[in-house]
Subunit: 251 residues, 8 copies
């Protein structure tokens, strides 16, 4: 219910145009959609810095172009499309001049009203192997789109654990850590034991046979012996980036 | 490797007691355990306010008593034991005078050096039904043991969604929200859509038949359409409390 | 927001006690809980004839007694508790004089304001075997508590299909049919092929080995080659009774 | 056994053309297929308004054309083919002039003897997201082919629950509601809590990772905390439309 | 429909007691149950030698006693109850004097009208280990109750394959072979490669961990590289005995 | 060990050419392969009428051609290749003149030494739907290649059960019945209840969603309430044909 | 076939007591069981040092006593019974004077002919947590019963990885390493990365919720990113001990 | 920490260039990466003979070429790339002259510093069928690349067990045996019963239907009744080769 409408009702009652019964009835049926929009408004404040997001998988280049244009017109905020193939990205970029494509993260985006980044609050994104990089890149860029400062450390899996320990400094300094791993997903537990910061674990579908497209890593992460590891859906780099961003803005 | 030992080595070399070869060899083999302890020390600072924890399931009352006593002697910190049955708790309390038992949370604890709570940083714990309460209570008390201010709202599941909406204020004001739900676990998604704060979802084994002891709720939460919902293992209230505490201490 | 409150606001504005800004702001924040209750009221009308329900599994006799008493005091409607063991029922009945126990359905109930049953709108409950009867009885009694006329036909599974065909008349005359079956759950498909009425299939956990506690029957029912068979959770007789009642009251 | 045949037998016996032994023997062997056809005849009455249906997946355009033509010749009823790709539809339409293709629902149909629609008995079809639309459209058009009046509301998932509440009126007025959702399928429970009408839940294979091609939504719907939600197979929009139609014709 | 009834109808029509319409109507509604019984009669001939069977699991001693008595009165055939515990058997035997209990097979039976056994048509029952014996004994005794000659060879699993090969003669001479095995169920494939006779494989729930209560053996048997191995449900010795008996009576 | 070799050894010993030690040693090491061949010889007698079989999936046309030629040269028996695509068949037939391709069964074969068929021992192959036909055709042709007389009845699923009952005669007369069904696989149980003959159930991967590529039908068949139904692997028409042939040759 | 028998045959032929046909026939039918025993004899040599083993789960104390006595009489080797409860052990020890019970490993054993241990070939057994100890102890004692020198290191899981690194020396010096871990089983991968020796991973059923009784750890170990980790069944400490012993005796 | 650096520190302290505090601090912070390299060095000795390995699946020919070249430059050891398609291999070989492609094993390799093979320590690789050969060939070539002597025996599955027994000699003489089998994986148990040597079982994804892409064989192998069978991930021939090599180098 827009303010104008409420004012109209209040004045109609004051002026005697409608009875108190009528006014009360109408107000008590205050339609949900307006509450909804109020809700959205209320959220908007909290959502400062969040980009608008398009899940591009299963959408054509034309559809992505149309939605992206509409969002850019409407919101004045940055817009990102996730899971965009290289081909699709090219076709969208031919239409939307200032769109940028990050091939590693498979994200196509337009930046608006860039918020200054607080560099003292770092998010660290780790991967166990090189095949986990696309998911990690999606998480990292998503967090950056939300105004975070992100460090990427790839291929530091537990089979050669010295590679991980070589980065003690980055681990110690991070505010939030995202661990991206497929196969047996052990990296999340090891990192969880090295830091007192929140660890977000993202299982990937990397592996074969009994990895069951990421189920093995997912279960390992859910059962982490390191207390307080948060788990995301398989390959959900975007969600991890969003969660890290939400955590990192708490003050 | 303790500082004393390093100093001894340095001085032995300076004094000519050992050759540079011997000193280098010994130092280059710097044993892991000492790094380990250094690590622990380093962590200890970050872990201020964390209680010592005993997972009591499968341990006898005597074992819990012994471990609890040892921890109290050693660390000077608060100690909590999770998954303690009522009977076991009584037997431990007969031995350890200042132990307190929270039956709802099945946690037995001794508080030490109580840190003042920052009441402006609230953690909200919601449950979908009444059967989810033990898991929620475990999460809530765990977070409180870490010095957090926790609000509990139970039985606000989506089948009667007005019960949830009646608590908009608590949802809006919380820094971190823990959602505990069994069956179809839909509450996590609904709450995730109402807040921009981190939401930690804990599936419970509440339900029967195709709930598969919590798998249904677990999958629902992993697939939440609300971006950035963190998921814990089934019935892992303790882990949710720890994660919420870790998030809430970020400043 | 109760009507009194809305009136107070309207009058305060009319009287100049508050400005239009204040009134609009307060009204635009119309709290959810009141909408919620309005919602409930609105629903209550539709829910005429529905009993109040207690899921008794995991509750003590004392808890069931207390909740049942409270519901009886508050609503003036019939009350039923499902999944009540024989022992628990006895203890509740010692406290609540007019409670009745149906051992087959494991339901304990108090009838109030009995609505006349429309005998021309029959619900038929079929089971494949004798072990499926408790679930079927739960469905049947639940539907009866909602004011429906229910026919029970047990042990008419497909291994001896003539037993089923002997009841063509009951099948033809039913408005809604509930099929309760474990093991391979084939009865749902056969009945679905014999009628144009809605068929509600309830898989049961009857069976062993590869029945996987009802999964076999559940999958069979979900894949029924008879179009338009509705499936419930394993052993969910209560839900089937409710759904049949909801369908049967459409006019 | 057709009536003509029975009369022939009766008269042959009366006329002495066959002995009582012969007549009894022939009648006691009353062949199943005739019972079958009787059955079909009996059903036909109830099935008024049901279209003939072809499951086109895995059939060639030529096969679909042939079957459709045969059905049109034989039954005089409307005919629909489900799961028809755009290409296949074009090739069939080149052969069958009055065939119409609904691309969204992937249904190709020929309407015959259009029955007047009872607009007071509405079926509402909701989807959680835009990717769920093909399944919902299949459900909606199927129900329409059976002579029902259908309202479609797409993309009202629980992550932005105000979008759902904005349609309270449609929800309240519907006779039967079909909820189509993938991922965590929470919409079914929320809608089930808002209405006393039958809710038919259709899980979709929308999602990735731990959605397991619709299993997550399927389990969530089977475990709905809202009593009496009927569940269909994953992506089974057709079945949901049929069930809604069967429910809606009860009078 | 019994012959007497058909004759009554035919004569009533001939005598003018009923019109041709009435006679045709009644005959065209020829009730299924009578067809059913005809069916049963027809089957009875084929089922010569089959005992009546009671699945005793989940039934009380009193229930088993009652059903057994009723079957003995009615059919004049042998009666067997499967899955009878030792205690339950004792209580039934106290009531039914000529009941015999086979503890190994957990079968309680009464033999009637013992058919002479054809010793040239042997059924061989093999087990991989000693823990598989109860299921094998159930299969063997079931087949014997159907008048078959059964040889038992237990504990001839593939880990010590010479134990199996020592019985080449029994394997060669058997008409049908039942292989009962848990764990990895490899025995079925090995035996299937040694004989051209039908092999019936019964997986058992013997094992632990990744045997998943018999799933491992079940899958192994379904995937046997020996062509034409028939598989039964986990622990379904009774079904294997019945199938072997059905195969063995083909002439 | 061929007879000639044994004789040579015996005579060498008798003639003093080798000592008793040497002879005993050589004989006690009687190599397995010879036992193997003896075994095969022994089997050969039983395997009269069995064709040689090639599993063509994953083999090139050239490989199938080579193996088929080798088998034809070596054994003088009929040869069949299963799971042969239409294209592959054409290329093999261009090389092997008397090879015949059955497209429905996807089998390519060469018939040799055709054994007269015993028409009094019929095998009946039923399918629930039309999509199950390829698997059924594979079973039927396999059994025919083994010299059996096979009747095919397709599309007699339980949703229109009169279609099945119209074929009571074929069901009653069959010696062995193969039931091929996907989706919920209910046909196996219904047929199992109509006959006392062995029923071989073949689940197919026909279906979608919760059919899980045949798992639904597989579980249903394993849990059949009709005693003594044999189950094959999903889509294993070949195995069903072999088993039916093995059963049918018992005399 | 024992040597004596072969000699008898050879001589009977040489002496003309039997014809060459008779001798060849008998020899060509060389019974499998004798090959079997020869096999066993052959194996016995290799199996030097292996104890006789009884799987005691599901056996009564009396049965274990009887089998143990028989084995002691027959083989002269050490005998061990695995999975023996404390109560059962007491009852067996009352009968067999020199039996020893290891409560941690749940193994009851009698040592005979103690073979001197080669202390330079160490087997190291690690556990992630304290709850994994029973499985580890079973592995360790089994290997010791085979004459191996075993080091035990418990509770060195990856959540506090410094505890593991403190034991670099034991890891480096071991010939074979057994890693026993439940929950997420990450320890196997970390250890696999620290050594070039064979690593045997034993998942345990330690954990709850999504550990699925050890499935989580099992999958993690099968998907280890460290190449060449061998995996055993869940909780199969015995098998790990046997495998380690087999590896360790290779020279 | 390189020796040079340690020496520099020691000397700086000795020379008074830095205080004991500074030296101790720097040394106590001995960075992990240096330990890591020390670790690697330490391992290098043990890893003599191990080739460098590239997992080529998902990498382009250009990427494989680049990595292979880099490894050849850096390590002076042999290099192998696994899971290389024929096309990709050709493109790499066009760039790297001395690369060799083994099509069966799908491995592309460059041999350097060939170590003399110890022919007395044989590794035997067995397959159940011909479709298992690629996995077996990968295992065999991997072990050969590590300097082992490997015997290959293909297509000796249990359905024709004489084929296996014909190779008793190879089985008896092998130091380590790798068993590669799909479908029901029974070969591992049979071989495990014939030898006292370590058996490494590799399940393959060969099969269809209920083989579930290798799960059936995997479970069978995990549940082997032959004690001490080691199991690898599905299709993990590489891992089996590595493990066999690790076992075979123990002395």
């Amino acid at each position: 219910m827009e303010r104008a409408e409420i004012e109209r009702l209040l004045n109609a009652y004051k002026d005697g145009g409608i009875s108190i019964d009528e006014a009360a009835a109408e107000l008590s049926r205050l339609p949900y959609e307006d509450i909804g929009f109020a809700n959205v408004d209320h959220h908007r404040e909290m959502r400062q810095g969040f980009p608008e997001v398009i899940f591009a998988e299963g959408k054509t280049a034309a559809q992505v172009t149309d939605i992206m244009r509409a969002l850019l017109r409407r919101s004045g905020k940055s817009v990102m499309a996730s899971r965009v193939s290289s081909d699709k990205a090219k076709r969208v970029m031919a239409e939307i001049g200032d769109a940028v494509y990050d091939e590693e993260a498979r994200i196509l985006y337009v930046r608006r009203g860039e918020k200054p980044v607080d560099e003292s609050r770092k998010i660290l994104v780790l991967t166990a192997g090189t095949s986990d990089i696309p998911v990690a890149a999606e998480a990292a860029l998503t967090a950056e789109m939300m105004g975070n400062c992100v460090t990427r450390l790839y291929d530091v899996g537990v089979a050669g654990i010295h590679r991980l320990f070589a980065h003690e400094k980055e681990i110690t300094e991070a505010n939030v850590i995202i661990v991206v791993a497929g196969m047996e997903g052990a990296l999340a537990s090891v990192v969880g034991g090295l830091t007192a910061r929140p660890v977000i674990a993202v299982p990937t579908s990397v592996g074969y046979g009994a990895s069951f497209h990421g189920v093995s890593a997912l279960l390992a992460m859910l059962n982490s012996c390191s207390a307080g590891v948060a788990v995301m859906n398989i390959d959900n780099g975007f969600g991890a980036g969003v969660l890290a961003g939400k955590i990192n803005r708490i003050k």
